[in-house]
């Protein structure tokens, strides 16, 4: 489904952000990306989605998705290929447009990606809000983002992501900004939807506890480089790299929300 080969990226001024990163995600699989802050996890996700910051350039490597070389496509072909990709972001507040109602934001994406009529998009949005277990979905559709709780916003974004029936979702620390109790629900929700829709997920997180719950395989990242890559059971039972063991030792700290 997704193959990243020898991907390198540099920030302006030549600072290396990613160094020869290779990983692949099979259809329907959840692949974890772990590492401390600044390791380059989000940059990998952004490179796949085509939303790297202006200051960061890809210097080498390839990203193949669903048989196409994403980096070689023209902007419009790239947008076309992007229809099979979706993002579940870290901060659900800033990922929603503050001045538009939820309905407008969801149906825009659905109409654009699935070519639905306004009424069909509305129906699909409603159906997906049910599926992410939002009570009173009609009511939520009429709201502005600031009128919803963090957990609700994230459910809306998860609903939007899955509503487009993508083949791969990049989930960039989707629970970090949420309360601990909500974190568990959101995590379970993503796992359930991923299974029922058979969607592949590139799951970015600091938290090896989360990895154990949801991922099939993991890449451990440090300073833009992959130091270890293995099925999740192997990583948990016999972490090969000292850095991975250090991450494990530090894991309990990430169970708490940041101060």
């Amino acid at each position: 489904m997704l193959q990243i080969a020898q991907l390198s990226a540099a920030a302006r001024g030549g600072v290396g952000v990613l160094r020869a990163v290779s990983l692949s995600v099979a259809a329907g699989e959840v692949h974890g990306l772990v590492g401390t802050s600044g390791a380059g996890k989000s940059m990998i996700g952004r490179a796949v989605l085509g939303i790297l910051p202006d200051a960061v350039r890809i210097t080498a490597g390839r990203i193949r998705f669903d048989g196409r070389d994403l980096l070689g496509l023209s902007p419009s072909a790239r947008r076309q290929a992007g229809r099979d990709l979706a993002l579940i972001p870290q901060d659900p507040l800033s990922a929603l447009n503050p001045s538009r109602r939820i309905a407008a934001q969801m149906t825009d994406v659905l109409r654009h990606r699935l070519g639905l009529s306004a009424a069909a998009a509305q129906a699909r949005a409603l159906e997906m809000l049910h599926e992410v277990r939002i009570r009173e979905p009609d009511n939520v559709l009429r709201r502005y983002p600031h009128e919803l709780s963090g957990g609700m916003r994230q459910r809306v974004l998860i609903a939007t992501a899955f509503a487009c029936r993508p083949k791969l979702i990049v989930a960039d620390e989707p629970t970090t900004a949420l309360d601990v109790t909500v974190q568990k629900q959101i995590l379970r929700l993503i796992r359930d939807l991923q299974r029922s829709h058979a969607t592949a997920v590139l799951f970015v997180t600091h938290d090896l506890g989360v990895v154990a719950k949801i991922c099939g395989s993991v890449s451990v990242l440090r300073g833009g480089e992959i130091v270890e890559q293995a099925p999740v059971a192997d990583i948990i039972n016999h972490p090969a790299h000292a850095y991975t063991r250090a991450l494990f030792a530090a894991t309990p700290r990430y169970d708490r929300p940041p101060p």
Binding site: G50, P89, D91, N97, S99, D108, V109, R113
Partner: protein
């Protein structure tokens, strides 16, 4: 929406400013009904008559000017010119400045460099001087005044809208829209513009006040509409000449002008305070 409306009505600046602006709008709209006299009618037997509050067919509530024209009627008809300039010049300035600011902020690169340079050069001219030169070149009249205001003041919008667009462009929801495959035009119209509109509305309100003042200044120096036609600036100019014999002329015209500008400014400031926390 109804809730937002109620919030606005709890802000005293919005209420007071809105009331002042509304009063001027109504005066302009209903001038033929409200004005007791024809604003051009001269009564040479009642030159510089002082304000007179008795009720009767020949009463001049705010006195008359040196040609015996009724001051109240001229003030009411003068609001038509003020409102025309405020609305037309305000809206045109807003459209031009907002469009260029959006382009510069959203697309960046060469468009941004060009527009920003233009703004810098433009803003280095003293605006009133530029307005006088422009009107002198274009010929006097209301249309020239409006053109001058637009040509000079678009930078005010452009600067602010550009900065806000840059800020919006860095927000995650823009990335989400790009990742969702929306093209730049759809993102500009549907994602960025709705976040710029409240700001543009605030600026438009403030600009309307500025336009009223600029028109008055140009009338004052005789560069706007002909001196017969009732305009506040023209009345101030005339009133200055006879300030000792007929102080009401100058003071009434000044007061009306001040109240109008104050109204637009209060409304703009109030809207700014109210729209910001809801949307950000």
């Amino acid at each position: 929406m109804a809730e937002a409306g109620r919030r606005l009505l709890r802000n005293w600046r919005v209420v007071l400013g809105g009331a002042l602006v509304l009063a001027v709008l109504l005066a302009a709209l209903l001038a033929p009904v409200l004005a007791p006299y024809d604003p051009l009618d001269q009564d040479l037997s009642a030159q510089l008559a002082p304000p007179d509050w008795h009720f009767g067919a020949d009463a001049h509530a705010l006195g008359t000017d040196s040609l015996g024209r009724d001051v109240l009627s001229r003030l009411i008809w003068g609001s038509r010119i003020a409102v025309t300039v405020a609305v037309v010049a305000g809206v045109l300035t807003a459209l031009l400045g907002t469009a260029l600011g959006l382009l510069a902020g959203f697309f960046g690169g060469r468009a941004d460099a060009l527009i920003s340079r233009l703004v810098d050069i433009w803003s280095s001219f003293p605006p009133v001087l530029l307005a006088i030169i422009l009107v002198a070149l274009l010929g006097t009249g209301l249309r020239s005044v409006i053109v001058a205001i637009v040509v000079i003041d678009w930078t005010r919008f452009c600067r602010v809208v550009r900065a806000e667009t840059l800020k919006q462009r860095r927000m995650d929801y823009i990335d989400a829209a790009v990742a969702a495959g929306l093209g730049p035009r759809a993102i500009l119209w549907r994602e960025v513009l709705p976040n710029i509109l409240p700001l543009a509305l605030v600026l438009l309100t403030l600009e309307a006040g500025i336009a009223v003042v600029v028109e008055a200044i140009l009338s004052f120096v005789g560069l706007s509409i002909s001196s017969d036609a009732p305009s506040w600036g023209g009345m101030i100019a005339e009133g200055r000449g006879v300030v000792h014999e007929a102080p009401w002329l100058l003071s009434c015209a000044m007061l009306v002008l001040l109240a109008t500008v104050l109204g637009f400014n209060l409304l703009g400031d109030g809207l700014k305070a109210e729209l910001d926390p809801v949307l950000r």
